[in-house]
């Protein structure tokens, strides 16, 4: 096992006709995946997370910057010399081979003896519960089984320094996903694997990762633990991407009344500490447009709260999702989602009160997206 360091890595593709248009898929990515760490690259499709992974794997050339595995710079190494294991979104099982042969394939490349291969496959197949299907061919298996075989082929490599996974469970149904999330995390811990895992599903990232790298439009937005991302989003993108339902954003302007600063949204005012206002005044924001963000789960509906704000709003819709409900209210054309436990008694069209604690509000510069924090 080894750590992986990605340092100022760029990936650009030349445009179709001539060199006029340069497409930048990854822009100046820098992060470190520590030894035995589970790192997730998270972002919407086309954000550059898969390009980043493929550059680490050596399937794609690094346009600029360096990638280190352990102490070794791997830019010019072939994939086979980087000592990696990888599991693919499409599983990429070799169709003419049996499952056993598929899993043995990387070991054969290393000239293992047949006895040793058999023993190792026994170990791995028991772990992933695929002992019974070793003699089948991939086409006979269900998606979940193919998935586990693909993982087995990645995990069978004892000498792999890093295990890469590209959306390995994105095509499975919800139940299997939940089970494999737990299995994967358990295997990673037990075997002390260094894993770099690509996904667009925030739930996968938040539930498994020790560290998450959030990417958008080729740029890294934030690197942090799942708790960091949820509680201290660095910008509007991360705030909106992490969390389900997504964070509510209220457009505001910064105002001053005598000595007090406040953010004005519709007819509501939210106090702003003077030291925060100080920071805000230094921001690049000529139009004085700010965004106040509050998570749906941090709001309550139907009553006020001490040391917080209460807004009058009309109930727009109520969704019952079993153990929780999502109430959507409307304030001057702005829709706000509130997640409440259990069944909500709100009725559509009613006038109600929406409240949240002062400390639950995040302030963002609406122009740059940057969070304003002490």
């Amino acid at each position: 096992m080894a750590e992986v360091r990605v340092e100022h890595v760029w990936k650009f593709y030349q445009g179709e006709k001539g060199a006029a248009q340069r497409v930048e898929a990854v822009k100046d990515a820098t992060f470190t995946c520590n030894d035995k760490e589970f790192l997730c690259l998270l972002g919407p499709s086309g954000c550059g997370k898969t390009s980043t992974l493929r550059m680490i794997a050596g399937l794609e050339k690094i346009s600029q910057g360096d990638i280190y595995i352990g102490e070794k710079r791997v830019n010019d190494l072939l994939p086979k010399d980087r000592m990696l294991a990888m599991s693919f979104e499409s599983y990429a099982l070799y169709p003419p081979m049996t499952i056993y042969e598929n899993i043995a394939f990387p070991l054969r490349a290393r000239n293992w003896s047949e006895d040793r291969i058999r023993e190792r496959i026994k170990e791995v197949s028991e772990l992933l519960e695929i002992q019974d299907i070793l003699s089948f061919r991939p086409a006979k298996l269900s998606g979940g089984e193919q998935q586990r075989v693909s993982l087995a082929r990645a995990l069978v490599r004892e000498d792999a320094q890093v295990t890469l996974m590209d959306e390995p469970i994105s095509h499975l149904d919800a139940q299997l996903k939940a089970r494999l999330r737990i299995d994967l995390k358990r295997v990673q811990r037990e075997w002390g694997l260094t894993v770099i895992y690509v996904t667009h599903d925030q739930l996968e990232a938040l539930s498994m990762a020790d560290k998450v790298v959030v990417m958008n439009l080729g740029e890294i937005q934030q690197v942090g633990t799942p708790e960091d991302l949820y509680q201290k989003p660095a910008n509007l993108f991360v705030a909106g991407f992490i969390g389900e339902p997504p964070m509510n954003f209220l457009p505001c302007s910064l105002m001053k009344d005598k000595d007090h600063f406040y953010l004005q949204f519709s007819q509501f005012r939210f106090e702003v500490d003077s030291d925060i206002a100080q920071i805000m005044s230094k921001e690049n924001n000529p139009k004085n447009s700010w965004t106040l963000g509050v998570r749906p789960a941090d709001m309550i509906v139907g009553s006020s709260i001490s040391d917080g704000y209460s807004l009058k709003a009309h109930v727009f819709s109520v969704e019952h999702l079993g153990e929780s409900s999502v109430v959507t209210v409307d304030i001057d054309g702005q829709q706000i989602l509130i997640e409440v436990p259990g069944l909500s008694s709100e009725k559509e069209g009613d006038l109600t009160l929406v409240s949240f604690g002062k400390e639950k509000a995040h302030i963002f510069n609406a122009l740059t997206g940057k969070v304003i924090r002490k």
């Binding site: 794997a57 050596g58 399937l59 072939l78 994939p79 086979k80 980087r82 990696l84 294991a85 990888m86 693919f88 979104e89 499409s90 990429a92 070799y94 169709p95 003419p96 394939f105 990387p106 490349a109 290393r110 082929r153 890469l164």
Partner: protein, 287 residues
């Protein structure tokens, strides 16, 4: 009611099939008939469907002797021509595969300048009728000493089989997901190892189908064989012309030779039929 209609439909379908079969098979039947008739029966009118069959035509064609019995013949060295065809067609197919497999692979997998132009130019060889190129080719072959040689013939036949092979196999390679190769490369194999262990087993039916079709194309080729070969390297198709003599056309022997000429294509097609269909629908079934 429904069942009856279905039966009627089935009957009509069967009748249609039989008609198409008759239409297709009849010329073959007629040639076969001619090949087992004596010269008198062949030219009799109205044509005879019942006659005393004879194998004389075959023995004359295969043994290559002048017939000394009831009727005349020209002397043809048919087994030699048959062998020539085998050499030239196999040579052309082997050459097409040796050049075509790497060409198809690189067209399917890599991006390089002028890739599509190259592929199209290759295909465009098939657009032009052979008649357009045959005279210049003949003159060039005379000059550089290719005329009437096996390697010259193989080179000319390869012009027919290579473009076809490259285009067919390019599709097969494109149907192999690139991720399979990526996975194998990460698993620790070199480019050659991946090609040999992953690509080749997957594409083997496709290569077999392509090779067989190419062989049949080459085998049935007439023009290049007719113009570019000398008597020593003449393939079977133009050799059938040898049965047209000054005084008469030796229909019976020509038919016998034609039937023998047909055999390799038919046998190949029958034995490899399932393979062939699988090879040609390799990509189609996946979509």
């Amino acid at each position: 009611m429904n069942g009856e209609r279905l039966t009627l439909g089935k009957v009509l379908f069967a009748v249609g099939l039989v008609l198409i079969m008759l239409w297709t098979i009849f010329p073959l039947y007629w040639v076969f008939n001619m090949s087992i008739q004596t010269p008198i029966d062949v030219i009799s009118y109205p044509p005879k469907f019942v006659f005393d069959p004879t194998l004389e035509n075959y023995s004359v064609v295969l043994l290559g002797k002048s017939w000394l019995g009831k009727y005349e013949t020209v002397q043809t060295d048919f087994p030699r021509y048959f062998l020539n065809s085998l050499i030239v067609c196999s040579g052309a197919v082997i050459l097409s595969m040796l050049v075509g497999v790497p060409a198809a692979y690189s067209l399917a997998r890599y991006n390089f300048r002028g890739k599509e132009n190259f592929a199209f130019t290759l295909l465009s060889f098939r657009f032009a009728p052979g008649l357009i190129v045959i005279i210049p080719l003949f003159i060039i072959f005379r000059r550089i000493g290719f005329y009437g040689t096996y390697y010259g013939m193989i080179f000319a036949y390869q012009l027919l089989t290579l473009p076809f092979s490259v285009w067919l196999m390019r599709g097969f390679f494109e149907d192999i997901p690139a991720e399979l190769e990526h996975a194998a490369r990460i698993d620790g194999y070199s480019w050659w190892g991946v090609f040999r262990k992953i690509d080749l087993p997957l594409i083997a039916p496709g290569i077999a189908a392509t090779a067989i079709l190419s062989f049949i194309f080459a085998w049935n080729e007439f023009l290049f064989g007719y113009i570019l070969s000398s008597d020593a390297t003449r393939p079977v198709t133009p050799s059938l012309m040898g049965f047209i003599s000054y005084e008469q056309v030796l229909w019976g022997q020509m038919a016998a030779a034609a039937i023998i000429t047909l055999l390799p294509s038919v046998i190949l097609a029958i034995f490899i039929q399932r393979y062939l269909v699988r090879g040609l629908t390799f990509g189609a079934v996946k979509g």
